[in-house]
């Protein structure tokens, strides 16, 4: 009706309130979902953290018990450490012996049959065999010197250094020198 002012403002207010309530309910619905998800995450995190903490405690307890057991096993551990150290020492000695044996075998194999090795001293630090060879006569001496300074020695990875030559009353010659093997081979 023209000219009449609508004064039923209560109805408008109720309508506005109803719209607001509808919006709030929507928000509350979303919030409840968020709260639900949060609660699940929260309980999950707390649960996992308690589980880890228990597991860690168990691991620590196992470590402590293992340490106690190892303390009791100290004499046995000492035995093993000594055993392994001695074994390593013996193994390295054996390897050194094998090198020495191979060198000695080669060295003795090159000495001419008519000559005699009268002295052999091994110097393990220097990796050498200090030797004295007795040669029956001067004509055989050349043969020995040819062998000593021949290619066969160098090819095999060894070297020989003559130190001295002497002659005795029986006309025998004594050649003294060093046979080098291993890393100390003198070129």
């Amino acid at each position: 009706m023209p000219g009449i002012i609508d004064i039923n403002f209560l109805r408008d207010q109720r309508r506005a309130l109803a719209t607001k309530e509808l919006k709030d309910k929507k928000i509350a619905k979303i919030s409840s979902v968020i709260v639900g998800v949060f609660a699940i995450v929260f309980i999950g995190v707390i649960g996992v953290s308690i589980f880890f903490s228990q597991k860690e405690k168990k691991a620590q307890a196992s470590i402590d018990s293992a340490q106690v057991q190892l303390k009791k096993m100290l004499p046995l551990e000492k035995d093993y450490v000594i055993y392994s150290k001695k074994l390593k020492i013996l193994h390295s000695i054996d390897q050194e012996r094998q090198t020495k044996r191979a060198a000695a075998t080669f060295f003795y194999s090159i000495i001419p049959e008519e000559d005699e090795l009268v002295d052999a001293q091994t110097d393990e630090k220097e990796h050498k065999i200090a030797f004295s060879i007795l040669v029956p006569e001067i004509f055989k001496l050349q043969h020995l010197l040819d062998v000593m300074y021949g290619d066969a020695v160098e090819k095999a990875g060894y070297s020989i250094k003559g130190e001295s030559l002497s002659r005795n009353n029986q006309g025998e010659y004594k050649v003294m020198g060093d046979f080098f093997y291993g890393s100390q081979v003198k070129k």
Partner: protein, 267 residues
């Protein structure tokens, strides 16, 4: 529009859904910052520390099972053999006994012995005091042994020395005058490569410079050290050590010896 002042109760009644939502957001935020975040951080720390602990535990468990395995009879036999080959105490008498027995076995005579054994201790502690300042784990007792016998036998004797108990290193061989021949034998095995048929029946005198080896190891352990691992080659080598021949002193002969003199008095 007419503005009407509303009481808080009225406001709450009208916007209860919104207010509850806001409170729940604040709660979520508060719990996230003050409870959840620290919990997650602690959990991550706990997880990494647990991984470390589990690794540590597995190391200890492996060590325990390894040591239990070491207790087995085979290992104990090997350990005893290695301790006999490389004793902790200076093996003066045992080496002499072994050399004597070996010489007898090869029908040669031990005609002389030169040695300066120093302090002969029966325990590691004494030897440690004796090993003045020496850091090396391997010690050597130097001996000069004079032998007499057939060249072939002397050669066999020298060849056998590296595989007897205790460990002996031959580092010098000199041949002296022989009875029945003016030739010295060729040294070998060292020497068997070059046997001298002509001289094998003659009697020779040989002087050997030998080192009897021993290792007075002093070990201090806390139980937390890692055990040194032996290589396959070293483990195989340990098995070969079982074939080293030992010459234990004759217990019955020792028992027969009555120490001291008989009591001449009746009381």
């Amino acid at each position: 529009m007419i503005q009407i002042d509303k009481s808080p109760t009225q406001i709450f009644r009208e916007r209860k859904y919104l207010i509850v939502s806001i409170v729940s957001w604040v709660l979520i935020l508060g719990l996230s910052v003050f409870v959840l975040k620290p919990r997650i951080e602690a959990m991550l720390t706990l997880q990494s520390s647990m991984e470390k602990k589990q690794k540590e535990l597995s190391v200890y468990e492996n060590k325990i099972s390894f040591l239990k395995n070491f207790q087995s009879q085979d290992y104990q036999k090997m350990k005893n053999q290695i301790n006999a080959i490389l004793p902790s105490a200076k093996p003066f008498l045992t080496s002499l006994y072994a050399l004597e027995q070996l010489a007898a076995e090869h029908q040669i005579s031990l005609v002389g012995l030169v040695s300066a054994p120093g302090k002969i201790a029966s325990n590691e502690g004494e030897l440690q005091k004796d090993a003045a300042g020496g850091n090396a784990e391997l010690k050597r007792l130097q001996l000069e042994v004079q032998l007499m016998g057939l060249s072939k036998n002397i050669q066999e004797f020298i060849d056998t020395i590296p595989s007897i108990v205790p460990a002996i290193d031959v580092h010098g061989v000199s041949f002296g005058s022989a009875r029945g021949s003016n030739k010295a034998p060729a040294v070998s095995k060292q020497t068997t490569e070059k046997p001298e048929e002509a001289s094998s029946s003659a009697v020779y005198q040989a002087q050997l410079e030998i080192d009897v080896l021993y290792a007075p190891l002093v070990i201090s352990l806390t139980g937390n050290q890692q055990l040194s691992v032996l290589s396959k080659e070293e483990q195989d080598f340990a098995k070969t050590l079982m074939s080293y021949k030992s010459y234990p002193p004759d217990a019955s002969a020792e028992a027969e010896q009555n120490p001291g003199k008989e009591n001449p008095f009746s009381f």
